[in-house]
């Protein structure tokens, strides 16, 4: 009589090598990084009173400050709208160039995508700091920052949309000898327009959030007032600014979510 063979576990499985090695690596990394950053749990709790004091002062917002910040808040929204629009407009040609179903040259695609990857690595505040140095303090630097920032994000989203389109209409137009521009206008555009607008709105949401802190480095909008109130230790004003920002973000998110639901 032969017994069915019991499944053999390899040495790696039997001693849980993967799990143990993973845990050890994680613990070593945790210890190394906490030593490097000088984390001191005790200090946090001994200074916790100070932190709470800050929160308490924030919890009584100076409501009369609202009137002052309405204008900069609107400016923040305007910066976000304009920045996103410019960024999205710039992104379209780059998205077309990096879509694998439209551009067959691997080299061209690779170069464009590498460029886009490089743009995407730069954090928004870093860009703001550089553009403030170029354009001076004011909303222009903010708009340019948001344009570059959204360009990186939107172009990736756009080319991923383009890559999912149905190739049938394209082949039909190609077979009757239409030019590349005609193909894009009549076969590509109708398929992607709604998704483009949806991603545009999504980017706008992110940009509204981002633009609220850009002013911290002088790039216009509500962030300028945020920095001022923090520098003057006027936390009740800071609280108003944060709450007002929250309201604006929620309203924009709501509108954009509604529009996106209608579109898709």
């Amino acid at each position: 009589m032969t017994y069915p063979e019991t499944p053999r576990r390899s040495w790696v499985q039997r001693w849980h090598v993967k799990g143990i090695v993973g845990t050890v690596v994680l613990v070593v990394l945790l210890i190394a990084s906490s030593r490097m950053t000088g984390v001191d749990v005790g200090m946090f709790f001994s200074n916790f009173g100070q932190f709470m004091n800050l929160l308490v002062r924030m919890s009584s917002p100076a409501w009369d400050y609202t009137a002052v910040i309405i204008q900069p808040l609107l400016e923040t929204i305007q910066m976000a709208i304009l920045g996103t629009t410019i960024g999205a407009a710039l992104a379209i040609p780059f998205a077309v160039l990096s879509a694998s179903n439209l551009i067959h040259s691997r080299l061209l695609r690779g170069v464009t995508r590498l460029f886009l990857d490089l743009v995407r690595t730069l954090p928004d505040l870093l860009l703001a700091a550089i553009f403030v140095a170029i354009f001076g303090i004011g909303s222009t630097a903010g708009v340019v920052t948001l344009a570059i920032f959204s360009f990186g994000m939107v172009s990736k989203l756009f080319y991923e949309v383009i890559e999912t389109i149905d190739m049938g209409p394209l082949e039909a137009l190609e077979s009757v000898g239409a030019s590349k521009v005609t193909i894009i206008w009549y076969a590509v555009l109708p398929q992607i327009l709604n998704q483009f607008i949806s991603y545009f709105l999504y980017t706008l949401e992110i940009n509204v959030r981002a633009s609220t802190v850009l002013g911290y480095l002088g790039a216009g909008g509500i962030g300028v007032f945020l920095q001022r109130s923090l520098n003057e230790f006027n936390y009740s004003q800071t609280a108003v600014i944060i709450l007002a920002t929250l309201v604006v973000v929620l309203v924009i998110d709501g509108i954009s979510n509604h529009l996106r639901r209608v579109l898709l």
């Binding site: 490097m36 000088g38 946090f44 550089i130 945020l226």
Partner: protein, 270 residues
């Protein structure tokens, strides 16, 4: 006589036919308001010269800054930035788990009071700007990377909690039911079915959040919360463009490396 069939267009109401015009007006007005509302300072006189020197600095980075053994060089600060992001993400992932179970919509829940309140709290945390958090923690623990770690840990809860709770809502309940029907107690169901099912997704989201944390850790230094941002803002303020160039290069390489590493790991997880 030939019969002619006339193709009638599907009937559309006036509203359907003309509502695009409304959109044109609304969007036009929006852009009119936007462009008129912004005060364009225009280019400063020095803008050309500054851009020239920025490009110059980027082309000729200050290579000597990469490593000089002082502990204040690019490599040590990049490592410090990564440490801030790593520690912040891990701490926040641990704290996010209870938040996620709080905010996840339960199958038998009525009126969604519990999950609704959890979602509101997570949204509040998410909207609180990371920079402001960093400044608050600097007041509490002094300037340095510790404040950065705290800012990343607290801010990430907002997003990780949301992603985790969505993972819980969408998880496969099959193994939970199996353990329950075999007579498992609530604790056993949790340990043997819930945790193993959602762990890979939690890990994957944590890695994704780590990618974002690396970016934010590199700018938190601009307000004094440690990492590469501090020398960056000093270099920009003192117009030391070769140094800005090398730091930018460092950040770009760091982010690209971390992104591809994390992508590899995430592919293996799911």
């Amino acid at each position: 006589m030939t019969t002619m069939t006339v193709m009638t267009k599907p009937h559309r109401t006036i509203w359907q036919r003309w509502n695009w015009l409304l959109w044109v007006v609304v969007i036009g007005a929006l852009y009119y308001w936007t462009i008129n509302g912004l005060k364009f300072t225009g280019l400063q006189e020095s803008a050309g010269a500054v851009s020239q020197s920025i490009v110059d600095g980027l082309v000729h980075p200050q290579w000597s800054y990469v490593y000089d053994g002082s502990g204040e060089d690019l490599l040590s600060l990049i490592l410090q930035t990564l440490a801030i992001a790593f520690l912040g993400t891990i701490v926040s992932a641990v704290i996010s788990v209870p938040f996620a179970f709080w905010a996840a919509r339960g199958t038998h829940e009525r009126f969604f009071l519990r999950s609704g309140s959890g979602k509101v709290v997570l949204t509040l945390i998410r909207t609180f700007p990371e920079i402001v958090l960093a400044i608050m923690f600097i007041k509490a623990v002094g300037p340095g990377s510790y404040a950065g770690v705290l800012a990343v840990s607290i801010h990430s809860i907002g997003m990780l909690g949301k992603l985790f709770s969505e993972a819980i809502e969408n998880m496969d309940r099959g193994s939970e039911e199996a353990i329950t029907s075999a007579g498992g107690r609530a604790g056993q169901v949790f340990a043997l079915a819930t945790v193993p099912t959602i762990m890979p997704e939690f890990f994957s989201y944590t890695l994704y959040r780590f990618e974002i944390a690396v970016r934010s850790a590199s700018i938190l230094g601009m307000v004094g919360a440690g990492g590469i941002g501090t020398p960056m803002i000093f270099a920009i303020q003192t117009r030391n463009w070769p140094k800005v160039g090398i730091i930018l290069l460092g950040i770009v390489v760091m982010v690209l490396l971390i992104d591809s590493l994390s992508e590899q790991l995430r592919k293996r997880l799911i």
